[in-house]
């Protein structure tokens, strides 16, 4: 699907850019009213076909009919609970939570659960920090000569309050004097920098990739050979992030040509050639996030969909020029999302309660070129490094204490996203160094990673400390080791063990009357067996 086709989904009236001559006060004061008014003016997407379920379910069902796909039954309560806990708040359910949910007689118990999870502001924010830190390259591992600046505190507060995503992104692009200016500062190393990596060009590359699904990386050095973007377009966007129009460099050589700020979709607005930096920031924040921009809402909806189902409605999610997908469905969801004030939790709720999300997970298959990503349910997904290590911590009660990112979080448990410096297991499981934008964690299993899990000190220490805590807890005093096995299975896999599994577990746990020191190794090993099971490592 090409760019023009996607643009054509919303017929754009000729529009003159809004001026915010009076500065930032006006811009922020009128922000929501302006956005709402513009949404009202958009052409409404076609009504989904009639039938059962939400409009989203009906739209998906229409693709099933067309593809002659008969959906299987949705997953059972326990599988749903594990999935939805990990997806909404990044932790598996506790035994108590699982039990409460299972026993809830309400017909809409899944909706009730999702609502309860989304209402847990802190847990939701802590989980989604990982996703956003990756997108924004937000990290606190280094800051030589003050060349970088994290936005952690602002970001965490934004996620706790569920800041609408248009506002969140507008604040990043127009930070003013008190906002998250670290984002536009970029990733810098001391010394001379290639023209294609000066902060305004970095901003153009990252804003276009992350928020507009347009790749300018190639075009920020020379006219792109992977899409239609020209060098001049990359500089046109970059000039919004510079206090004066930038001189275009081709392959790091000055061309003598100064490029005025010009948005990738010029019909969305403009800015005077002599505008100051604040005015440029306001203009670009407006153009990126305004409802008439056909890219922004679709890109964000697609990213959230991909987080929750393992593949986007449109792929590749980073580059709408070069891919294919379910554009009608994406447009519908984007419109719905904009109509709900760009509310991320509303969007997540829609997806988590959709029928397609609740289908059994299926293997990922290679697709032929031009074939849209299947809509047959989620794919089996590897837990992120953060989900995995948090889950290990939750089932054992051992949360390692290490140096943390500079943000105040009222949680006695130090969740992994806050670790300032990732240790070897966190890195091996895929936490990126955030020098580059990461929109999709690598899920591959490698021998080097397996070595870290099989004989590395980090996981081994966590299980050692964890086993000690468990043995000292009520569970350690439990006389019937079958109960211990059952409890730990429920905690880690959200299911009860079968008879074979109970016997195998018991063979490691020993008897309650034995000395703790004697039981400790067996408990460690049993925990290892659990957290190394594919069932634990993956969300199904």
């Amino acid at each position: 699907m090409c760019r023009t086709a996607l643009l054509g989904l919303l017929l754009l009236p000729c529009f003159v850019g809004t001026a915010f001559a009076d500065g930032n006060d006006d811009f922020w004061r009128d922000f929501r009213a302006r956005q709402r008014k513009e949404v009202e003016g958009l052409a409404k997407p076609a009504e989904p076909p009639a039938g059962d379920g939400t409009p989203l379910d009906r739209l998906v069902a229409a693709t099933w009919t067309a593809a002659k796909f008969t959906p299987p039954a949705v997953v059972g309560d326990r599988a749903f609970a594990r999935r939805v806990y990990l997806d909404a708040i990044g932790l598996p359910p506790t035994v108590e939570q699982l039990d409460l949910f299972e026993r809830d007689p309400a017909a809409d118990k899944r909706a009730k659960l999702v609502d309860a999870l989304l209402a847990d502001k802190q847990a939701f924010a802590e989980h989604w920090m990982t996703f956003w830190n990756d997108l924004l390259r937000n990290d606190e591992q280094t800051n030589i000569d003050g060349l970088r600046k994290p936005v952690t505190t602002w970001l965490y507060a934004s996620l706790v309050e569920n800041k609408p995503l248009d506002l969140l992104v507008a604040e990043l692009l127009n930070p003013g004097r008190t906002g998250p200016d670290g984002y536009l500062k970029g990733v810098n190393w001391r010394g001379r920098v290639n023209a294609s990596q000066i902060p305004p060009v970095q901003a153009a590359q990252n804003v276009s990739q992350v928020f507009l699904a347009s790749s300018l990386k190639c075009a920020s050095c020379h006219d792109s050979f992977i899409n239609n973007y020209k060098l001049e377009q990359a500089y046109g966007l970059a000039s919004f992030f510079s206090d004066k129009n930038l001189e275009m460099h081709r392959c790091d050589k000055p061309t003598g040509k100064v490029v005025a700020a010009k948005f990738l979709l010029p019909e969305l607005g403009e800015v005077a050639a002599d505008a100051d930096l604040e005015t440029r920031h306001r203009a670009v924040a407006h153009m990126v996030t305004r409802p008439k921009n056909p890219r922004f809402a679709r890109t964000m909806v697609n990213r959230y969909w991909k987080q929750l189902l393992g593949r986007g409605l449109f792929e590749p999610a980073d580059d709408f020029e070069g891919g294919t997908g379910h554009t009608a469905l994406l447009s519908y969801l984007a419109y719905d999302f904009m109509s709900h004030d760009f509310d991320a939790k509303y969007l997540v709720r829609q997806i988590l309660l959709s029928k397609v999300y609740q289908l059994p997970a299926t293997p990922e298959k290679r697709r032929k070129a031009g074939e849209p990503p299947p809509l047959t349910g989620p794919v089996v997904r590897r837990l992120t490094s953060e989900q995995y290590l948090d889950a290990v911590a939750q089932i054992t009660g051992y949360w390692p204490k290490v140096a943390v990112m500079q943000v105040t979080v009222a949680n006695p448990h130090l969740r992994t996203w806050r670790h300032k410096k990732p240790d070897s297991v966190t890195t091996a499981l895929g936490r990126p160094n955030r020098e580059q934008v990461c929109t999709d964690r690598n899920q591959e299993s490698t021998v080097l990673q397996a070595l870290e899990l099989v004989n590395g000190t980090e996981l081994s220490n966590r299980l050692k400390e964890g086993a000690q805590l468990l043995l000292a807890s009520d569970l350690g005093k439990q006389a019937d080791s079958a109960t211990v096995v059952k409890t730990l299975y429920l905690r880690s896999l959200a299911r009860e063990p079968n008879d074979d599994e109970i016997k195998l577990g018991q063979s490691l746990l020993g008897a309650a009357k034995d000395a703790v020191a004697k039981r400790q190794p067996g408990w460690e090993d049993f925990l290892w067996v659990l957290v190394m099971s594919p069932e634990f490592q993956f969300v199904r």
């Binding site: 920098v193 290639n194 293997p363 004989n455 190394m532």
Partner: protein, 468 residues
Amino acid sequence: MTANPLSRRDFLRTSCLAGAGALVGSHLRADEKKLQPTADSVILLWMAGGQAATETWDMKKYTPFEKGMEAKAVFSTFKAIPTSVDGLKISEGLPNIARVMHHGTLVRTFKAGDLGFILHSRHQYHWHTGYVPPQTVAAPHIGAVIARTLGPRHPDVPAFIDIGQRSAGGEDFEVKAFQTAGFLGNSYGPFLVPEPAQAVHTVQPPTGMSKERFKERQELYLKTLKARREAAGLDPKEEEFLKSIEGAHRLLASPAAKAFDLSQEPKESYDVYNTGRFGLGCLLARRLVEAGARFIEVSTEYVPFLGWDTHENGHSRLVDMMKLIDAPIAQLVRDLDERKLLSRTLVVIASEFSRDMLVEGKPEQKVQDQVQVPEKITEEKFYGMHRHFTGAGGVVLFGGGVKRGSVYGVTADERPFVSVKNPVTIPDLHASLYRTVGIAPDLSYDTEARPFFVTEDGKGKAVDALFA
């Protein structure tokens, strides 16, 4: 390649991170005849922190310490001694290496990149990946490129092993940023062995766990899996995960893993190598090459202001640093030669740049000073090479098909000690290293639909004169 009015060569000349978008996977120039590798393994001995060439490999006039001497009068602070190569002299601090120089080629004219205000880790990143950060994609370490392109030599020995860099202090993040396979994916390493003396633990059960217990744990794991597999089946990703676990166990149980156990080395040999962490790293590297490793880096370890990063006391510190490297490197070369491995193993000694008494950066491109150098050297702590010099540096290559007993490049005998003949840049140096293992400089791997070349823009050119 699709219709393009430019030939590929012209195209490369006019583009930076560019190439032919229509190609997929990895690309070799069609008209290039296949490179015949002259080496199967590479050992990179990394002199972290900026090793002063005029104190080690490229000796200038000896100027002993005299209280009150002029700074500009200080050339080399060590005497030059003869080597096993006629007419070639190196530092008196390297008497053992002097005796094996006939096995290798000394490059005197390595020219580091012009990156402005010096940051060690940035130059190290450049040296190890061929690219200057920041980059829009995560650039792979050359060891990862070799691992990706050639695979392991022995299935149970990781193809890319990195020894001796603990990265716990300053610039640790920056160092880790290039100690990676980048976009190639973590299958291609590095396998990290920060403490060579503890290397055996990297291939043993976790601390405190007996071999029996480790084995029983695995058996129970497999039984539990069987119970599950029968009940629910496994997804291909889950199968891939289990394969990785099997792979780890196979590696741990492999006879090749014994190479990691330095206690199995005869005492007299161990003692020759044991000058410290770096020396034991050289021993481990030799054992791993014998066992079938593909690419190994052994670092003296970069910690700001330590090791070769002499901001003061340059002379006295280098006495110790040369002691640290001299015996083990010489022994490594001798051992590889005796075992008939040197002819197929390239050993490289390199550093991110050199140092000088006066010049920061290089003469025509001076950058911000980081070290105060008094005009008169009144105290010994000012005697030494304390500024970062990028105009010329030393690289030593042993074995692997390079010329034996050869010297390449000429530097000035008067300050500034710049390259005056045959400078070697990073792309050309990398092209030369890659050539020994049969990798073309314009080999590329696609990421985000763009080709990423193993030397910058595919432009590296191997230095023919280095090869036998």
